[in-house]
Symmetry: C2
Subunit: 262 residues, 2 copies
């Protein structure tokens, strides 16, 4: 009689034409939405639900897989199925590249995370010259080879973002930009020092499900989309001087933009 967890759930409606596994998923979803199961809390085990509803185990698993696809729950082998906690989100404001934010010695990511009380990390640093993809080449204005700077950002040990900056070789080669650590203010500060005064940025935003490799590098739970942001930096002469391709765990971000009403 340890049926306390399942006592929060109702019965099936045999007359309904809604599939049984959907009905079960509906009940679990509603229970979660109503807070009957709280964040991080364990849901009834598959065996308990099998008994409660009188269905087979695969049916229950089918229900769970729906909720997983919705990003509501996640299963842990040997432990159970848990309500997925909403992680703290990182807000990216549209003025995050303003010059006034470029004065400190540390990177914007580190400063901001420290301020928010999180523990920031950057890893997977890689800086190398390579052939530009078709897309990058187009964005940079028909450039063949580029300097690529890759890095992964983590908050409290959790990967949240993976970014690659591409710069034309004639700009970046043999400059601090080609160093693993480009110095205070990041590569935008270096670009300006090198005489490429920045005029504006263009950001393209998409959202989609992650590729398997993105799931791996961002350690994404199932049911978590990614935000794909492609930023192009233009100097005052209208030349594209950098393209930054960023993939973010969507559950960790809110992007914020300010637009003039012109």
């Amino acid at each position: 009689m340890t049926s306390l967890p399942t006592s929060l759930l109702g019965d099936l409606d045999p007359t309904s034409d809604r599939a049984v596994f959907r009905q079960i998923a509906d009940q679990l979803r509603e229970a979660i939405d109503r807070g009957r199961f709280k964040e991080g809390e364990k849901l009834p085990s598959e065996a308990e639900l099998v008994e409660h509803y009188g269905v087979s185990r695969m049916t229950v698993r089918n229900s769970f897989s729906i909720l997983q696809g919705e990003g509501l729950v996640h299963a842990e082998h040997g432990k159970g199925v848990f309500v997925r906690p909403r992680p703290p989100v990182r807000r990216l404001a549209s003025d995050r590249f303003a010059r006034r934010h470029r004065e400190q010695g540390k990177s914007a990511f580190i400063v901001e995370a420290d301020a928010a009380g999180s523990h920031p990390q950057v890893d997977s640093l890689e800086v190398k010259e390579e052939k530009a993809s078709q897309d990058i080449s187009t964005r940079l204005g028909s450039v063949r080879r580029v300097l690529a700077r890759r890095r992964r950002y983590l908050l409290d040990g959790r990967p949240v973002e993976f970014a690659t900056s591409y710069l034309p070789l004639d700009i970046a080669r043999d400059t601090p930009i080609a160093e693993p650590n480009p110095g205070p203010g990041g590569i935008y500060a270096r670009l300006e020092e090198l005489g490429h005064r920045l005029d504006h940025f263009e950001e393209e935003i998409r959202a989609r499900m992650p590729s398997p490799s993105e799931v791996k590098t961002l350690r994404l739970a199932s049911g978590v989309p990614v935000i794909h942001l492609i930023r192009t930096a233009y100097d005052t002469e209208g030349r594209a001087v950098e393209v930054c391709d960023t993939v973010m765990a969507a559950d960790a971000y809110v992007l914020s933009y300010q637009l003039p009403a012109t």
Copy 2:
């Protein structure tokens, strides 16, 4: 001997510790990525894959469910499993609310879609007064009741966006804004005519998996996230005069912003 479709696929590696259904999913994914199966094309049927790999049907279905979760394929009852075509995307530029775009008689959505050669529609029109949610009330500056304008946008018959505008009653009541069709230039033009000169907009962007009701109203395939955009319009006195809550099918949109380097 109609095994042509499966001849594009390899064998399983029994020594691998990767689960069989993942191996099958991997092979199908790779075949799709390489263009062996083109957009809209039918994949081998479950039965064919069962025979090709010598596994049970549930294993094959498990593989398909992975690919569905990734948004790569979609199943059609009685027909087969197909490579999901990438729909044409709608680009939203950050200057889309500039005054110069507000001069025509038709709504921005209609004009833009016509220009792109698509057939635009707007439906589910609903305009009513209601109690403001906690969030909306906060954004509008402690407003109790609001005018809510709901509408759904479709391109070539496919729903792509569902939006709700919330306006304080003291601004919108008994004005053209409370009419189903607010007239040329939309509600922003009306707001300015009413003396609320717009100063700037703030947009918050999130991406997540859709709720069941969003799946329904946007007719979303599985594996398609939504972009959730919340825009607040401010007048020159700094007052929030409108909040627009928009849910977009992520596979139908690219958002584009232009940021000054300040």
